[in-house]
């Protein structure tokens, strides 16, 4: 029998009828199996060897096998920074290892899931594909993996997604890109890591694990259960849940203290006129249609109308324009001017909600800048320089999460932002750390008075304080 990887599946040339997990493919007159059955089929044939173990010869049921499917290399890596794993991280790794390096680990947000991923890659000793739900997270994994293994790899850490298409022995990608390309690369990796693995249970994404032969699989998440119960499907593709750490056991441990200072600016008279005009168009439309905009449903109804009512469309554009005027108010730059003077010896991160504003600020104050458009390797380099102190300031339109790859800053300045409260509570908490004991970390929030921003800011701080209570 000869195993061959074919476009996300395994063709089993000259296979006996007894071969498990296979279907007869009348189109090519051979048996075919899903790629993720690779290990099980080798195991059945008595050809699976693992980590120094012996091939298991099951009661004489061995078959001659030519493995033309495996295209992934062995890879001996050690994380560059030897951090001692925390107890629960070590326990999770041990549990995964004893489950034949298959299965999912449930750890609370902020407990170092990425770090566990590094340990798993070093432990498995084969090439690895890391799949993440967003380009942001993909970039963060790239930074972390480059940091940990970059010097030991012959090629750079590969990036598949966000406009890049480079495959390396260690490669990061997004669910969407992996879904699109896995049939091409499903034979190139021995370890599959899926971050926020509960997303994997979606009908389309399930084909990512199905179309890869990787015998080792690690799922990571803080919230394994899904409303639709589809997490059940993960067991077959990724292995069972092998370790779980409750939120309570770790809560509060990694939150840092910071104080929030709110500063207000006015619109210039020109901005004010334009703002009021646009806002009025929006307001008039909404008032004449009786949407209850404070409720999710009411807003959805408004959005729906904008797709067939030209006035509604205009109202939506008016709202967006008004928001942009408030976000990028001219006088925010004056205030920023003052803050940058005050904190020029500190480590400062300036947040904006849109890319254009981030670039304006980067040009104006000559600050290194990271946005969604920044190439993954340049992003990694800028963060590395920020970490080492070569850069002390940073402008970004991206929210940088996960303590592990974002170097600490002691001053945060929010120039504009969206009102997603949970995200802000988590993200800001992790980035801001006092540089010395006498002075707490500071978060400045620059708000344009008498605009929609005033409301947004209120919601944001409500979110921060309510989550700190829990």
């Amino acid at each position: 029998m000869r195993l061959e990887f074919d476009d996300g599946t395994l063709v089993l040339h000259d296979a006996p009828e007894t071969v498990p997990h296979a279907e007869w493919d009348d189109r090519v007159s051979e048996y075919r199996a899903q790629a993720y059955r690779y290990q099980a089929i080798l195991d059945w044939a008595g050809h699976w060897t693992d980590g120094g173990g012996q091939a298991t010869l099951q009661d004489g049921f061995t078959h001659d096998v030519e493995d033309a499917a495996r295209a992934y290399p062995d890879l001996a890596l050690t994380p560059a920074l030897q951090i001692e794993p925390r107890d629960y991280q070590q326990a999770a790794l041990d549990a995964w290892r004893t489950h034949d390096r298959q299965g999912s680990v449930i750890l609370p947000t902020g407990s170092g899931k990425t770090f566990l991923g590094l340990q798993a890659i070093a432990d498995a000793g084969v090439s690895a594909l890391v799949v993440t739900p967003t380009i942001d997270l993909m970039n963060q994994w790239h930074a972390t993996l480059t940091n940990a293994f970059g010097a030991q790899l012959t090629d750079d850490v590969g990036v598949l997604g966000g406009g890049s298409h480079d495959i390396g022995a260690i490669t990061v990608t997004t669910y969407d890109s992996a879904y699109r390309y896995i049939d091409e690369y499903g034979d190139q990796f021995g370890l599959l890591i899926t971050d926020e693995t509960h997303h994997l249970a979606a009908e389309t994404y399930l084909q990512i694990p199905e179309m890869t032969i990787a015998p080792y699989r690690l799922g990571l998440t803080a919230t394994y259960e899904r409303a639709d119960g589809r997490e059940e499907l993960l067991k077959d593709r990724m292995g069972p849940v092998v370790y779980q750490e409750a939120v309570d056991n770790l809560a509060g441990e990694f939150l840092s203290e910071y104080e929030t200072i709110q500063m207000s600016v006015e619109l210039t008279s020109e901005e004010r006129t334009e703002y009021d005009d646009e806002y009025q168009i929006y307001r008039d439309y909404v008032d004449s249609h009786d949407f209850d905009l404070w409720k999710e449903q009411g807003y959805a109804e408004f959005l729906k109308r904008t797709s067939y009512d030209p006035q509604g469309r205009r109202a939506l554009v008016a709202k967006q324009r008004a928001e942009r005027i408030a976000r990028t108010a001219e006088k925010k730059l004056d205030t920023l001017d003052n803050l940058l003077k005050r904190h020029h010896d500190d480590r400062v991160i300036v947040f904006t909600a849109n890319n254009d504003f981030a670039y304006d600020i980067s040009r104006e104050y000559i600050l290194p800048c990271i946005t969604h458009q920044t190439d993954t390797d340049e992003r990694t380099e800028i963060l590395e320089r920020f970490r080492s102190g070569e850069y002390s300031m940073l402008a970004t339109s991206q929210v940088l999460d996960e303590g592990i790859d974002v170097p600490a800053a002691n001053v945060g300045i929010i120039l504009s932002g969206s009102a997603s409260k949970r995200q802000y509570a988590q993200r800001l908490g992790r980035i801001l750390r006092p540089t010395d004991d006498r002075q707490p970390a500071r978060l400045y929030e620059i708000i344009t008075t008498d605009t929609m921003e005033t409301y947004v800011s209120q919601r944001r701080r409500d979110g921060v304080s309510s989550s700190a209570d829990s």
Binding site: D7, T9, E23, R230, S392
Partner: protein
Amino acid sequence: MSDEQYRETAATLIDLFESYLGEPKGDLEAAIDELTVDNTDYKIVQGLAKLLKDECEFEQQATVDPREIRQRLFERANDSYPIVRQPTLGEDTQKLEVYSAVADELGISLEACYRGMYADLDDNKRLVRFGEQTVDEYDKDASDTSTTKLTGNSKQEYDQTEQTVDWLLARYNLALAQAVLYDASEMRIRVWDHFGTVFSYVKLFGLMHRIYPIDADGTRVDSTDNAAGYEAELDGPASLFRKSQKYGIRMANFLPALPLCDRWEMNAEILDDDSTRTSHQFTLDTTDGLVSHYSTGQQFDSDIERTLARKWERANTEWELQREDDVFDLGDEVMIPDFAIEHPDGRRAILEVVGFWTPEYLASKLAKIRQVDADNFVLAVSERLDCADEDFGDAADRVLWFKSGIHVYDMVELAEAYASATEMDRR
């Protein structure tokens, strides 16, 4: 939207793109957005614009690598903070000092330094080509007002725009159909001509197939000899295990191959939303007026084939020569012999011409030929090739070896000997 409105919108967009030649991409996009401010058909506008953008080339305008410029700026700035707009203290730096220093270092102008800093951003790249038009032509036309573009020849220009509008709307219709196919799990096609072209696109886009010969009404028949056309079920390797949208993108890419046929039908199963597991049917055929932008390829593979066809026309025989009339399903690919030789009484033979090929191509062709299971399959093989009777397996007796060209009457003789009788109702 009425047809007339579509044409109007398309024409407006084409004008817009032309007027932004040489301008930054970000400005062009802002101008497109401006068209949709109170237009609920913004999806159509954006869709048309997307197709036009595919015909554009945007280029980065910088003499020094932008990443190099900004890295130097940030390094220098980091030693000079605070850099402020309104210096209060004597030691505060202004940005100009940093920009000038780096510009000098790199030997470029201050402006080149400032503009080059982010010249690699998508928004800052410039539109240098739109369709056939390039910036240079545009500049020339603009500066020299006596050239054709602005003088008297507006009729010609109008026709050109009308053609572009036709082209754009045709592409848009095709793109809409393709967008539906992204969620397709299986496609079933029926074609009555251009078999070679269709199946070469099936292969090109990585689709797998099951093929059934059909008659003129689309009913399945038992042999390719009785076939007027072919039905094919198209999907991918993993379709064996589950219904999957995975190959929808391949089917969408394949779709433009169908309008190359004079007569075709397509039916696809489209899976609905991720979790519901329901589906609906999507049907298209010749009458939907889709236009292809794919090429049909060469009509004849070689001079030998073309010469044979020409000689056959002049020859005095009742046997007729038909181009690429049969499709043999070989599993992971198909074999489409060059000709069928048909007699009015219903007898027919299938002919493959093996001319002057590279050794690699010959080897793969021979492997295909050996898989063909048909007693009326005859071959004309060049003596100059490095192969012999035994390379043709069961077909060895049915080979005509030729020196420089094929004689029609030799072929007729071969057809008389091996043709099989078929029913008369093929067409």
